[in-house]
Structure formats: structure tokens, C-alpha cells
């Protein structure tokens, strides 16, 4: 049965295959999918794939690739075969992420107030002091409900043992949730009966959950808060997502020039006059939100916004200065941070991480550049990264030079054997490709995680890089009812 059509080029026994046991038998929760795929003629698969791609194109679900000439809007490559998680797998992920976001918010509150964790020597003070995303301006600023990070997107990978581990936290302005939502819409059209048969938990309430999270963070005394989404504008790579989420929540999509601050109150300029704003879901980095306080060479933000924020008249989500907690070097301390604040062991483990500011670890890393993954601590989106086994000698020399010039700026991790999931390659044959998982966590009055997330795929054979800017794609993530 396994040599039948679409799977004839598949190879089994990758370190962890999401769908198959090493011998090639499908895991129980993938059986309905297996039945459907086996009975689907190649022609029909191709048609479904085309229909899905067309649907993405027509909806304008595209992203912009930086560093290329104008007009490089592309559709996000989408793989038709869903990635399926059992209820048990998901409930552990959910517990682990809830624990993690709770501890990280405690950590941020502490860093910007008493700094107990530094005084107790659990996290080295130099590490925080040298982090460019630590905002001294935030010292002593009260944040509603202590929700520094209201929206997080945490990247998980599955290790060869089948266990999930956290690869990195995205605590500033995580993106991609619109792909999760639109991908499900497309799947409903492509595999309607399969979705029903598998009893997949819905994710459509993300917009409502985000909206009530933001509402719960409104400044005190504003029972009916006005919420807006602040975008850098049409030229931003995630503009589609900004517009999409604003529409889902029924809130105004604003740019910096639509807002003004008067007497520490933020207003938006409407045709019927100024309207006071209470909560800003901002999709602009810290550096750009207020040219009076942060970078002055920008017109994306709103002059005076930070003062209004400090005065407690408006809520920013996420808060300013959350980047210090997703610094890749601080990441190594997250299990200790969880232990410190919650007195619990981390439910989701970290990936082993070498800090290059440590002399012993540095010399080990420099000797093994060809085996490790080196990442710049402040970068995201797969930029500024060396994947040892896939790099040339010249790349390695370049990184050796950069590491020695600024060791604090880099960390290294073993090259992970990410788990693999079956993907449709060139519209016909199904082959294993590496995947990760980015669930989205909302932290307000309570913690909400819609069941699922963005499963990102390294579409190139053997590649381990899943970022969309680096040739990655996505697939729908199904969390089963039971």
C-alpha cells in the first residue's frame, strides 16, 4: 500500500516524521488523511493545489521581499497537506507556552522595576545592560495587567525524540498569523469532509480573542476603549496582515501621520474631528514609534506618543522594551527565569545554546563552526545566520571574524534535526520536508492560544531554514478535538 502513487518518492526514517513511524506505517491521527491522499488522483491533487494558489493570489495574500527591486510581492508558498497534532500533544504545548509567557512577562516587569533577578545573580547584569533592546526609558513605567507581551509568536521545533522544544520567542511584533487564518479558509474549501472527519479544532476566533485581549489592556477609566492598529504603511512587508487583522477586528488601520498627541492624550484625525485613542496594537518596532524619544530620523511613528504612554493615557501592545526578553542570548536563561518566578521546571525545554561571550563556549564553537548554527542575537526573519553544515569555508571565516569582533552579538546552537512532514513537491510527488511550528499566544486578562499556529516549511530539499524571506512556505496546522 505504501508504494502507491503520491507517496512513491517518499523516504521514511527521517529523525522524526510527523506522519509516519520509521517503518512507514502512518501514525493513527494521520490515517484519515492517508486514506484521502491515496485515493486522490495526481490530476486532482494538482487541481486542488492550483485552486488554493489562485485563491491566495486573488485575496492578495502576499509578502514583500526586502533587498530586491520594486514589485517583489509574492504569494506565500502554501503546502496543501495539513500538519496534524493530537489533543495530547497540543495540551502540553499549551501548558508550556502559558507557563513561558507568564514567566517572561514577570521577567520584563521585574527588569523595568526592582531588577530582583539581576540582584540575585540569576541573569547576569551585563547581559541586560548590553542588550540594545533594553529600554531604560521604561524603568518604573506601569503597564496594565503587567502584560508587556500581549501578543507573542513562539517558534517550536520537534526534536528526534518527538518532544517539542522552544527555538526562539518572538516578543516584539510577531507576524504571520494572517497566513494561519487564511490558510484554514482555503483548506475548508479544498478538504471540507476531511476537516469534519478529523474533528479539527477551529481557529477563526483569533480576531475576536485578540480584540478582547487588547480591550482588557485599556487604561483605567476607559470602559469602552477605542482600539487601532498602527502600521508603518503600504510599503511594509506585512501590510497585508495589518489590513487583514484590522478588518477582522473591525478597528481602524492607522499610520503615524493619522495620530497626534495633545496634552499627553493620543487622538486620530477623522473627518468628524479628533477621536481619542485608548489602545494601540502597534506593528512598528520600538525604534520608530516616537521620534522625540527613539530614532529621530523617522516619520513612521507619532511624536509625543511615548510620553502619553508613560502617563498611562494610552496602552501600547506590545509594550515598549519587550525585545530584551527575546534576545537570543537571554533566551538561554529562560528555563532559569521560569524557575525563578514560578518555581516550576520548564514544560517545554530550550534548545541547547552556546553563549559566545563565554570564553570556553566560544572556543568550542569556533572549532565547530561547520557543525553548528550561529545566529546574531538581535536579528530575526532568518537574516544574519550561519547554518554550519550547509555553509562554505568562506562563510565560516566571515562569521569567525564577526564573532571575534563582537562575541555578545552571537549565539550558537547544535544543528537541529527538525522533524519532517510530507509536502507536495512540484505539484505531484510527496516528499518529506523540515517543519517548525509558531503558535500565537495572547496575554491579557487571561492567556489565550488558538489551537494551532503557523507550520512553516523549508520547501527546498534538505534545507533547515523555514523563514518566508528565505524560501520557506507554510501549511495548515490541525489540532484534533480528541
Amino acid at each position: 500500500m505504501l508504494t502507491q502513487a503520491p507517496f512513491q518518492n517518499y523516504w521514511y526514517g527521517t529523525p522524526w516524521d510527523e506522519m509516519f513511524y520509521p517503518g512507514g506505517e502512518p501514525r493513527a491521527h494521520y490515517e484519515p488523511l492517508m486514506r484521502v491522499l491515496e485515493n486522490l488522483p495526481a490530476e486532482e491533487i494538482r487541481q486542488k493545489k492550483q485552486a488554493a494558489d489562485l485563491s491566495f493570489l486573488h485575496q492578495g495574500i502576499t509578502f514583500t521581499v526586502y533587498g530586491k527591486s520594486e514589485g517583489t510581492e509574492r504569494i506565500f508558498p502554501h503546502d496543501l497537506i495539513p500538519r496534524i497534532l493530537t489533543a495530547a500533544e497540543w495540551s502540553k504545548i499549551e501548558l508550556g507556552l502559558t507557563q513561558r509567557i507568564t514567566a517572561l512577562n514577570e521577567f520584563l516587569r521585574d527588569l523595568y522595576h526592582e531588577q530582583r533577578i539581576l540582584n540575585d545573580g540569576v541573569v547576569p547584569r551585563e547581559l541586560i545592560a548590553s542588550c540594545p533592546h533594553f529600554r531604560r526609558e521604561m524603568r518604573g513605567v506601569a503597564v496594565p495587567r503587567g502584560a508587556y507581551v500581549a501578543v507573542a509568536g513562539t517558534d517550536l521545533v520537534r526534536l528526534p525524540t518527538g518532544e517539542f522544544a522552544v527555538l526562539e520567542d518572538n516578543l516584539r511584533v510577531p507576524s504571520g498569523v494572517s497566513y494561519m487564518l487564511t490558510s484554514r479558509q482555503v483548506m475548508k474549501r479544498v478538504f471540507p469532509s476531511l476537516l469534519r472527519e478529523c474533528q479539527v479544532r477551529p481557529i477563526d476566533h483569533y480576531g475576536a480573542a485578540l480584540s478582547s485581549t487588547l480591550r482588557s489592556l485599556a487604561p483605567e477609566g476607559r470602559p469602552d476603549p477605542v482600539i487601532v492598529l498602527l502600521t508603518p504603511g503600504v510599503f511594509n512587508s506585512a501590510y497585508f496582515e495589518h489590513a487583514y487583522l484590522a478588518r477582522q477586528m473591525g478597528i481602524e488601520l492607522v499610520e503615524g501621520r493619522d495620530l497626534l498627541v495633545h496634552d499627553n492624550i493620543v487622538y486620530m484625525r477623522t473627518t468628524s474631528g479628533l477621536r481619542r485613542i485608548d489602545v494601540i496594537y502597534r506593528r512598528i518596532d520600538d525604534d520608530f514609534i516616537d521620534s522625540l524619544v527613539f530614532r529621530s530620523d523617522t516619520i513612521l511613528g507619532v511624536p509625543g506618543l511615548f510620553n502619553a504612554y508613560r502617563a498611562g493615557n494610552v496602552t501600547l501592545a506590545n509594550a515598549v522594551g519587550t525585545g530584551v526578553a527575546d534576545d537570543k542570548a537571554v533566551y538561554a536563561y529562560v528555563p532559569a527565569i521560569i524557575k525563578y518566578y514560578l518555581d516550576q521546571d520548564a514544560i517545554l525545554p530550550n534548545v541547547e545554546t552556546y553563549l559566545l561571550s563565554d570564553e570556553r563556549e566560544r572556543s568550542y564553537v569556533l572549532e565547530n563552526l561547520d557543525k553548528l548554527v550561529v545566529k546574531a542575537v538581535g536579528e530575526s526573519g532568518g537574516y544574519g545566520m550561519l547554518v554550519g553544515p550547509h555553509s562554505t569555508k568562506a562563510d565560516q571565516e566571515e562569521f569567525r571574524r564577526r564573532i571575534l569582533a563582537n562575541p555578545r552579538n552571537y549565539i550558537a546552537q547544535p544543528t537541529l534535526a527538525l522533524s519532517c512532514a510530507p509536502c507536495l513537491v512540484e505539484g505531484e510527488s510527496i516528499e518529506p520536508r523540515h517543519v517548525d511550528l509558531r503558535p500565537y499566544i495572547l496575554f491579557g486578562e487571561k492567556v489565550t492560544i488558538v489551537p494551532g499556529g503557523l507550520t512553516r516549511v523549508a520547501l527546498r530539499r534538505g534545507s533547515l531554514v523555514v523563514n518566508s524571506s528565505q524560501g520557506g512556505g507554510s501549511k495548515d496546522t490541525w489540532v484534533l478535538q480528541n
Binding site: 503600504v234 481602524e252 492607522v254 501621520r257 484625525r269 477623522t270 473627518t271 468628524s272 474631528g273
Partner: protein, 321 residues
């Protein structure tokens, strides 16, 4: 609605109307130039440029004039730059207009950008017709695929303001050049050069057929002026356009009330009343040039007041409300 959004919709609409207007009159004058004797063509393009409030053409040759007015990138208002500006405004409010509208404007933009700039013989007419049709299609889509709410009203406002200003300028210049008292006599035969120019003026406003239904094909210049200025039913007559403008302003005033609206409604209302209750004899007595100037000034005033009332109002005045 956000002031920026209203402003973008307003300008998108003004620029597109301008592009269509230029295409229409260039098409007509390009045709006239072929038919008319050489002496009748003297100063033609200069007048066209003047009616569009542009500096006189750099060179007099038809080809150079056409490429300047159709494709000129330096020119503030060539067809290409106008469409580009319309699209830039639309791009910033993509989520506020229907995707059909965006796609149509985008298509038009790419079509004019890739038009052949050199071959003026066969292609130019096709180019101008494509611009006209592209704009018409856009307006049709605007009417049938977008909610007729505040944003739609700002689109109407931009279009009618631009149209009123353009028509008034054109009428003024044409009148100065071609109107003769004597012309009221029968010496205006169908062969006279001036006769064709008056038909041309009607055609510039796509008004020839509508005019003939009212006055038959006898072209009396006074009737032409009256038709383009005071007709209550033709969509390019200034009176009709000002009615539309006033309707849009009233709707906006209902949706976004506030005392800042009153000033602009007063100016527009006065202009509307003048056009509704004036007779052509009174206009002639006052003088066409004077009347047209008054209309254009009122339009500019309306434009400024709209901007002040809805977009760039001072923060202090808005806080008092």
C-alpha cells in the same frame, strides 16, 4: 472616517477626472487639427494648455505637444502623471475601496506606463480612448462595488470639483477666442472654421449628442454656452456638476457633522443657487470671463474649506467640539 483616507479618496478622484478630461480634449483637438485649415490651427495647443492651467508647450510641433501632454513626466499634469497620482492615492487606501476598483486603476496605470511614446500616428488615438474608457470603467465600478458612504461621497466631491474647474476654464478660453456678436447671424454655415470649433467644444464635454437633442444640430454659440453652463440634466454642465457637488457635501455634513462644515456648505450653496436661478442673458451681461472666473474661484474656495473642515483642521478647534 480617517481624515487621511478621505483626503486620499478625494485626490484619487480629482486626478483621475483630470486624466480623463485631458484625454477627452486632446482627442477632440487632435481630430480638429486634421480637419481644419492651417490658419485655424494657429494657437490651438497654446489654448489647450492654457485651459489646463499649464505653461505653454515647449515646442509647437504636434508630436512634441502630444508627448508632453500625454506622457510628460516633468509636466505636473500629463495624463501619465495624473493617473500615477490617482493610483498612488488609491494605493494608500486599498482597503477602503473595493478590490475591483483597485484592480481597474492598477490596470489603467500599467497600460499608460507601457504605452508607446514614440508612435503618435495610429497609437495616440487608441491611447486616449483607452484612458477615457479606463476612467469610465472605474467610475462604473465605484458606483456599483463600493458602499455609497462617506468615502464614496468624497470621491464624488473630488470628481465634480475638478470637472467644474476644468469646464469653466475651457469655456472661458474658448469663448474669448471664438465668440463673435456677428456669429449669431446666419453666416455661421456648416463650412465655417468657427462652426467646427464650437462643435469641438461640445465634443470635449461629450455633449454634442445631448446638445443636439435639445437644440437640433443648429449650432448657435450662445446656446452652446448656455448648455454647458446652465443645463440641469447634462452631467458635464457646470450647473449639474455643482448640484452633484452640493449633494455630496450635504451627505458628508450629515455623516460628519460639526460647525466647521457650515462654511463650505454656504459657499457651495450660494454657487448652486446662482447657477439654478440665473438666465443666460444675465450671464452675458455680467460677462462670460467674469462669470467663469467667479465659478473657478468659488471652486477653489470650496476645495480649501473642505480641506480645512475635514482634513487639516487645527487641533485646538477640534478639541472645543
Amino acid at each position: 472616517m480617517l481624515s487621511r483616507v478621505a483626503d486620499n479618496l478625494f485626490w484619487m478622484s480629482r486626478y483621475l477626472e483630470r486624466a480623463e478630461h485631458i484625454a477627452r480634449i486632446v482627442l477632440v483637438h487632435h481630430n480638429l487639427e486634421l480637419e481644419q485649415p492651417e490658419e485655424a490651427n494657429a494657437g490651438r495647443w497654446k489654448r489647450v494648455f492654457q485651459s489646463l492651467a499649464l505653461d505653454p508647450p515647449i515646442e509647437d510641433s504636434t508630436n512634441s505637444v502630444l508627448s508632453q501632454i500625454c506622457f510628460g513626466v516633468e509636466s505636473r499634469f500629463s495624463i501619465t502623471t495624473s493617473i500615477e497620482s490617482a493610483r498612488n492615492n488609491a494605493r494608500q487606501v486599498r482597503e477602503q475601496i473595493s478590490s475591483e476598483m483597485w484592480e481597474q486603476l492598477n490596470r489603467l496605470y500599467h497600460a499608460v506606463r507601457h504605452a508607446d511614446h514614440e508612435d503618435h500616428n495610429g497609437e495616440i488615438e487608441e491611447f486616449l480612448i483607452a484612458v477615457k474608457e479606463g476612467a469610465h470603467l472605474f467610475h462604473g465600478l465605484t458606483d456599483s462595488t463600493m458602499s455609497h458612504g462617506e468615502g464614496w461621497q468624497f470621491i464624488q466631491l473630488g470628481q465634480s470639483l475638478e470637472r467644474a474647474i476644468n469646464t469653466a476654464a475651457q469655456l472661458e478660453i474658448h469663448y474669448r477666442e471664438f465668440y463673435r456678436e456677428a456669429s449669431l447671424d446666419s453666416e455661421w454655415g456648416p463650412d465655417a472654421a468657427g462652426y467646427l470649433e464650437w462643435i469641438g467644444l461640445l465634443r470635449c464635454a461629450t455633449a454634442f449628442e445631448a446638445f443636439c437633442k435639445v437644440h437640433s444640430a443648429t449650432i448657435d454659440p450662445l446656446n452652446v454656452v448656455e448648455f454647458l453652463l446652465l443645463d440641469a440634466q447634462f452631467p458635464h454642465s457646470i450647473r449639474f456638476v455643482v448640484d452633484t457637488l452640493q449633494t455630496a457635501l450635504e451627505a458628508i455634513g450629515r455623516l460628519s457633522p460639526g460647525r466647521r462644515v457650515h462654511k463650505v456648505q454656504r459657499i457651495a450653496g450660494r454657487l448652486q443657487a446662482e447657477l439654478s436661478f440665473t438666465q443666460i442673458e444675465e450671464v452675458m451681461e455680467r460677462g462670460i470671463a467674469d462669470t467663469m472666473q467667479h465659478i473657478r474661484e468659488s471652486c477653489h474656495e470650496i476645495h480649501n474649506c473642505v480641506h480645512e473642515a475635514f482634513v487639516s483642521y487645527p487641533v485646538e478647534s477640534a478639541l472645543e467640539v
